[in-house]
Symmetry: C2
Subunit: 597 residues, 2 copies
Amino acid sequence: MTSIKERILTLRELMRDRGWDAAVISGSDPHSNEYLPDHWNARRWISGFTGSFGTVVVTAGHAGLWTDTRYFIQATAQLEGSGIELHKLRVPEAVDYPEWLATNLPKGALVGIDGTCMSLSEVKALEAALAPIEAKVESVADYLDAIWTERPGLPEAPVFVLEDKYAGESAADKLAFVRERMKACGASRLLMDRLDCVGWTLNIRGGDIPYFPVAIAYLLVGPEDATLFIDPAKIRPEVEDYLKGLKVSVAPYGEILTVLAALRKEDRLCVDAGSINYGAWKTASESCSVMEMPCPVIGRKAVKNPVEIEGCRRAYIKDGVALTLFFHWIESRMAEGCRISEIEAASKLTALRAEQEDNIGESFATISAYGKNAALPHYSATEQDYSFLEPRGLYLVDSGGHYLHGTTDITRTIPLGPTTELEREDYTLVLKAMIALSRAVFLQGTIGSQLDMLCRQPLWKTRRNFGHGTGHGIGHVLSVHEGPQDIRHTIRSLAPIESGMITSNEPGMYREGLHGVRHENAILARECGSNEFGAWLDFETLTCCYFDTTPLVKELLSPEDIDWIKGYNSWVYESLKDLLPPDTREWLKRKTSFHTT
Amino acid sequence: MTSIKERILTLRELMRDRGWDAAVISGSDPHSNEYLPDHWNARRWISGFTGSFGTVVVTAGHAGLWTDTRYFIQATAQLEGSGIELHKLRVPEAVDYPEWLATNLPKGALVGIDGTCMSLSEVKALEAALAPIEAKVESVADYLDAIWTERPGLPEAPVFVLEDKYAGESAADKLAFVRERMKACGASRLLMDRLDCVGWTLNIRGGDIPYFPVAIAYLLVGPEDATLFIDPAKIRPEVEDYLKGLKVSVAPYGEILTVLAALRKEDRLCVDAGSINYGAWKTASESCSVMEMPCPVIGRKAVKNPVEIEGCRRAYIKDGVALTLFFHWIESRMAEGCRISEIEAASKLTALRAEQEDNIGESFATISAYGKNAALPHYSATEQDYSFLEPRGLYLVDSGGHYLHGTTDITRTIPLGPTTELEREDYTLVLKAMIALSRAVFLQGTIGSQLDMLCRQPLWKTRRNFGHGTGHGIGHVLSVHEGPQDIRHTIRSLAPIESGMITSNEPGMYREGLHGVRHENAILARECGSNEFGAWLDFETLTCCYFDTTPLVKELLSPEDIDWIKGYNSWVYESLKDLLPPDTREWLKRKTSFHTT
């Protein structure tokens, strides 16, 4: 194993040979995945940084990692001694790496990238930023191969079919929908590069990516048939028959560029400029007419059908059972004086969730964070570095599961004993923020970044804020983070919140060195009547797990807040009571009654 | 005087001669003015519709007016018998005129426009909508001249200089700022086409447009000098000397296209694609290199300097005096049994405002609307059609003034006697909405369409809404409606609300045939501290006029709402008491104490 410093030195040699003034390692892959197969995790390899967001840039005299508020503490720790400097994003006066390059490179510089592992939009933005200094971008696929000697191969998990009783809509109907959209814009081909779009369209799932039950593949849809570019070893005979029934043929994954290069001039190919990698786009652009438009599947799959919605409701009931058993277990064990580590707690929760019928794994790595560790919103306890739960302060657990019928994402923060005044204030105000969004009523056409304001205002009134988004779409047995809706302060998406969309509602408060609080429910947007002013929507809360009321500061809550909490907790009790063993049921009865300290 | 029907028939003849399948009359002018000089008010001439927003489209078989919710009632009345059909915008399933044309015209159709009276962006959007049916746009300047025989000439009001003691920044400094921005993007010329930008930059004002104290002109800024294209008769010798001191020469208004056509290939001209008319853009594009960027003055003039802010505070105090005298007068006169018409009331208010020192006119036509007339948000009483105030229900008055030191915009809705339950509910919820925005605390970077949600939520919770924006920027002795900030539900502007911006806060509720409520204050965004989460802003309310508390439904208000109202009303009393005659002072004392019915 080479050290980070050695890797950067070797990269600089490679850059010298190629005549590059800078190299960009985007930490992305050909499919814009959030969690990367190790094969593509070049950012981690070159820097040692394990967070899910960031870009590494190396020049002759500087090596830097650009990442955002979520990872400042973690990155500072992981970069120590590497010689790589942390560049903070999403803070006042943040300078992103393209602007940094434009300021720090000489006129006419050459910047090396691997275009197959960067999105078209990112490379375009980079080129635009470099234009004033007349610097150019050179894309070389897999350029790190020359120095990354121990690079892992691609995963090989088998594909399975998600039955219609779980998916709620047949793949044939979904393909018909895609072709209808292609026809409407005069396209003869559509390239699907997002793995969840491919999985959703064909009702297939896989196991190639941690926490994301999909297979690494491209889908090229034509007017009558389609081709799935995938390692054929992953397709068992019954899946091959299923695909044949849909007129979907299978081709090796690596052939996608060859097939794109062989398209004819008169072909009109739809690609999604928001996700397609620069390599695929460039190849297709040189052979045929490329039309850029958002993948039609994104908006459609975000609006869950009744079968998916009912499946998610059931999934949250199962999650509620697992979490109730989990919190009861923690309390009982600690009362017995047992020591529980963050890692043991996370494993226990994983096991309890796995016991639920139809559970097929976790939807992301559980965040099990006690005390000051919870001040890192994306904290990850490791065998080398973890804490024990103590009978005081707050414990935060953010976890989720995939069930065959739905995917969950839930965070609860619970008191383990006495709490400080600041902990109680933060706990209360974050819950108040979550309730404000839960109770929103809004007209059709309202976007997430508008609803975000309702959630932030209770925190902002006391000059508090959290540095992450408020809510993301949650896929159905797909990615736990999906678009197009996005509840956040910075406007990234103009997609309205539509009836049938399931979104997380997860405000937080983080105090470095002290504590962290996050309360997260999943909320389903639904119609709630029309009148002369338009069509109205509100939210149904799907998540079914109590909020501990003991840390609440009653003076900070309105009568409406208190009514909401009481109503929610009694609904939780009524929904779960028959699914719990008697002692846990009694315990939950007490937990769901309203009493503040 | 020809009738509307005759005018449309003549237009159809002209269309036949030109081979046009449709003609668009945009109701705009070369400078994107909201209030048009009669010379350019072609929409009113062709349709009889007097509203401030709309487009007329005529084809061989159809004539239509597209306008929005504000004008549905008024347009329906004014179009009656004209054969022109109303097309509603900003309602579910609204179809704007470009899409309507694309659906209703034959393939390859020709659409006639006057490009000098349409913005570049509007013509581009029209062309884009027509592309699928391969229809083309043909622009002919002043094509209506051939049939519009009584077309009025251009106004001729003299220009005056707004002294630095009012403007707070010299024109020399403002020109230096513009040139700095030009330099930063490598431009050799900048064309300013918005009349308020021209007026702000040179610290000059005029009287060409009703309620908008500017002169019709273009300003072409070069690296060292500039040219003002304006009717030279408007420039008195002392103003000419002032301009000479700024190295600004004067050229006839009509020469702008000639000068643009004479620019050289190597010239780099900045134009604002958001406002420039298609005619000027096309001329310049054919002679030189055109760079499209927002006029740098827009964002700068929206952030008021300390002299402007203090001037606005003083203006709202004067407005408060005028309105208090006005409401006292109404109550006294009605108590005496006198009949007051909406028009008499408006005139009285105009006179009271005019008595205030440094008042130079109204900032828009006063809306004086009693009872059901107030259900039209932009109602205008006319000599032919007006109501008398009755001792029951609600009276709404929306008015504003220009003072040499600042511009105002204020709406109050007052009870004239007993009110209905629905009136009281609407009155209360609209005030609650206005208070919610007034009390907002927000991080730097927050845009108006996010803050809008705080204002709407109290109304939305009871499934109520209003169909207009919540808040617009207010110019300084310029347009009462200015950008870039915009507090509204539909996202039109991504400009954050910055410290120093003055914006209206004017939610409403309109019940056709019953009543209308609007409460409007002007709010100044200001810094309120920084901490680890960023820089915080809140609002200072500038408007200084009491809210009548008698119609308030106490159960709909939170303790915080009631505190706000009490605090506001006592601030109003303290600010105005020494400026009022004794009887009005005593009367205001009673009005500003909190008592609900």
